[in-house]
Symmetry: C2
Subunit: 310 residues, 2 copies
């Protein structure tokens, strides 16, 4: 039972109303793997970093149990670096700088030992690269994919080719509207699922997430946190918790998908409590379980039995 995550490994410089930190460990592959690793042993990372990538971050990932055999290091290159500033309400952010660096020539090579991965989780990357990953993996049971507005706008045809190969797409609400060309999220979901992914998860940040699968729509709340330090990586952490949970429970059935959405949401709610991925280090199974149960407490509707007949 194995999960392969392919995506960015980054050095993020982050400003929020609650502080600023430079060159924090980041990137989609980082958050996906650190979150997934709580649910299953065999979590494999494919990504690229430069010679400037700090040893302590390699150690953090390795201590987190992530298999780094697929982490390519280009000694004379620099690691992908992103800088962003979050607004007062944390729902909007400005990108201040994007230095692709080693990512510019990234050509994901999947190590032979990874080609039997059962779940492939494609972080936000150029859609052609995402397909190149899929060409190298033998018959995975589940392909999960993220993307972003940039690819929706600039490489729509390539993105469509990728989506045709994907089982589950995880994107945010503005991306869903843009990809579908449709403001109504329910209709947007129909259109997107017709492009390939039988399962669609629309992330809505502080408003939770919507799952569309089979004939089911499921609405997951967001955990009402009083302290949010840094939203960076929440979406990737969600994806990591989601695939991790599915790997543990098994990949089929709408109930498994719903539970996986809740565990993904629980992991994301931890992620935002501290800068970078630091809250994803050293969580206990009991903490995670309690957080997931808190989602149930938050959203359970008491029985109506008899009342309406009064």
């Amino acid at each position: 039972m194995s999960i392969l995550a392919v995506g960015t490994v980054a050095l993020d410089s982050i400003e929020t109303p609650f502080g600023a930190q430079e060159r924090v460990l980041g990137g989609s592959a980082t958050y996906i793997t650190l979150a997934a690793r709580y649910f299953t042993e065999d979590v494999r990372l494919v990504g690229v970093v430069g010679g400037d990538f700090p040893d302590e971050y390699v150690k953090l990932l390795r201590d987190g149990g992530v298999d780094l055999a697929g982490l390519e290091v280009i000694p004379d290159g620099e690691t992908f670096a992103w800088a962003g500033r979050y607004h007062y309400d944390l729902n909007e952010r400005d990108t201040l700088a994007t230095h692709l660096n080693v990512l510019e020539s990234f050509n994901p090579v999947i190590p032979e030992a990874y080609r039997d991965s059962r779940i492939v989780c494609l972080g936000n990357l150029e859609p052609t690269l995402q397909r190149r990953v899929l060409e190298q993996v033998r018959d995975p049971e589940l392909v999960v994919c993220d993307t972003m507005n940039f690819w929706i706008q600039n490489t729509p045809d390539s993105l469509r080719e990728t989506l045709a190969l994907v089982d589950c797409l995880i994107i945010n609400d503005s991306e869903a509207r843009e990809l579908a060309g449709e403001a109504n999220l329910v209709r947007a979901a129909h259109r997107i699922r017709a492009m390939g992914p039988s399962t669609l998860i629309i992330k809505k940040g502080e408003h939770g997430a919507l799952l569309f699968a089979n004939d089911t729509v499921f609405s997951a709340p967001a955990y009402p946190l009083e302290e949010i330090q840094d939203p960076t990586g929440a979406g990737d952490t969600f994806a990591g918790g989601f695939v991790g949970y599915l790997m543990q429970e098994g990949l089929s059935g709408k109930d498994a998908l719903k539970r996986a959405v809740i565990y993904g949401s629980a992991m994301a709610s931890f992620c935002v409590e501290k800068f970078g991925p630091h809250r994803l280090v050293g969580l206990t199974d009991e903490e995670i379980r309690r957080r997931a149960e808190a989602f149930r407490e938050l959203s359970t509707i008491p029985a109506f039995a008899g009342v309406y007949d009064a």
Copy 2:
């Protein structure tokens, strides 16, 4: 068992991406009473209209079972008129015109027969007028109140005086942030409840609603509609369904509040399916019950039992 709703009765001119209609029946008191009336017999309206108010709208309200003894008609005045345009995603709207007309000199006089009302639902009005209503009602069991950014900004002291007298405040998320001076909704809720209302409901439009009461936080989803014609009145309809349901079930207990939030949400989901309040005419109890049950289907988290231990 009686509900008193005090608020506007309006003629709305509405543009949405799906059409435009002029001088549609609107106003907070209209939507509150039409929704509440499905749950309890005795629903009383206090408001004011001009001589131009169409007989067919009086008939619509009366056929809906609303007690209109408190509807003041000023024969040589004109009815409050609002015009607005909704954007593509229906979450934002521009106010194109606001003609207060008879509302400008509105001084709500509560008929003697209404002074024993058990629930008072104060639609969005100048906070001094809201207090004037409360001075005339004898010892209601529950006072529910709405307000808007205009009063938060322009009459903050008067609004605070009103809030000190209110049991349950129902406002949207941007209003909650502005009233509390706090972007985080959980912390904003603490601050607002310290102003008076022990129960706070934050409406989030297409993202559902949050209930804060006692030590409970409850997150209600929004119903995933494919067809939304006109969001006008959804918030007031929510309030009407909420107070109507509470009148029916009884006013205490967090489970009753949660169920009332769901029934309020169900009524609001009907409201937006047609222009104006027309979808609130002729609903059956069975339709309402089925819609409320659909919220449960939408948000129920399957048991985790044993899975995480695997």
